[in-house]
Subunit: 195 residues, 2 copies
DNA sequence: TTGTGTATATTCACTAGTCGGTATACCTAA
DNA sequence: TTAGGTATACCGACTAGTGAATATACACAA
């Protein structure tokens, strides 16, 4: 039985992360992941029981880094809740200009697996998105916002809207527009009418 | 050279539409489309020069029906611009409860083709989404809204956010939340402060 | 120190089937 | 006779997954 913390396993997940994010899970073969990791397919199958398992592990590995990055952007921004929320979008727009940026791996994977709602990778994605929404609600509530949970959900919808539409138009203006919308929604839930 | 309006061609596109939407373009083989259409692969390749071509034709066929459906929801709703915008989401939530609903074919295809930004199907998707945004801006401007283009873009972001996040959570509550957010954004752009 | 057993980790070679696309031939209607 | 449209049969490349053998390392007994 393979170790959960094996360095080989980590090498495989890292290789899978690079390829799955760049090309999409359906366009990357298990052979390709094994080659990228510098080992054979049989070794990969020693550490993961199926490709579906590997896909879930790939997304699981992105959970914490993604959450921390978003939280970092929010925390680092000056100003009230509206400015902090908008900062997430400003930073996202900057990231999206990088040529290797291909949207959100969780959403793209869910789109590819839309016909398999119970797929383990979708459960991982669902947990990740819920974690983010929960964190955002608590962060907003620390900045004197009314109904932080409802507001967090609205902002999450705008963020995921950015991810999707960027894959169609490849135009970061949409992210800036979403940031302004988010700020508007925050102000609509701030007692003073302006934070 | 095949006819553009050939009934055989239409049968192929209809079959492709059923399968591609249900399973995703990457999980459906050309053989499967041919069988669904009740003809052989060779005949399919007489009418389409490649699978990529067929994918683009599939999305092209969804352009007008999708636009008309959304416009119908907006036009049929009672009330001001805020209520009409929210009606899009209410109807979307109802549609999303259907077991065969699998989100937006344009966005899912773009997600699958994220590594090929110049793919003809993505261009079709981009055109479709732009058409919708343009129509929505003009519809909003007919109802006394300020900056209808900026507002239309914000609402589009919420709609596409719904499509994406629904594939992760499968929870129509998100669509209702997006509808309320859209209404809030409309009111923020209405002179009276309330339409 | 040496030998044996055991669990972990890895490789090569393979299966059975699918993929997008095509060569060739045939049928039918103008 | 010609051209549009369809069918059979096939191609080489690739797919996820597996069987059997092997390398490595450490435990314990003689």
């Amino acid at each position: 039985m393979p170790e959960a913390q094996s360095p080989t396993r980590k090498r495989i997940v890292d290789a899978a992360t690079r390829l799955f994010y760049a090309e999409g899970i359906g366009r990357v073969s298990v052979d390709a992941v094994a080659e990228e990791a510098g080992l054979t397919k049989r070794t990969l199958y020693y550490h993961f029981k199926s490709k579906d398992d590997l896909i879930a592990a790939y997304l699981d590995g992105r959970d914490q880094p993604n959450l921390k990055r978003m939280a970092g952007w929010f925390d680092a921004a000056e100003g009230g809740a509206d400015r902090k929320a908008e900062a997430i979008f400003t930073n996202l727009a900057r990231a999206a200009r990088h040529p290797k940026w291909k949207g959100c791996g969780f959403l793209r994977t869910a789109a590819e697996l839309a016909s398999m709602p119970g797929h383990p990778a979708i459960k991982v994605g669902s947990r990740h998105k819920s974690s983010f929404e929960t964190w955002l609600a608590s962060a907003l509530s620390n900045h004197g916002v009314e109904e932080p949970q409802a507001l967090a959900r609205e902002i999450v919808l705008l963020i995921d809207g950015c991810f999707s539409i960027m894959l169609i138009h490849r135009n970061p203006d949409y992210i800036e527009a979403a940031g302004r919308a988010a700020a508007t929604l925050v102000r609509a839930r701030t007692s003073s009418g302006k934070a």
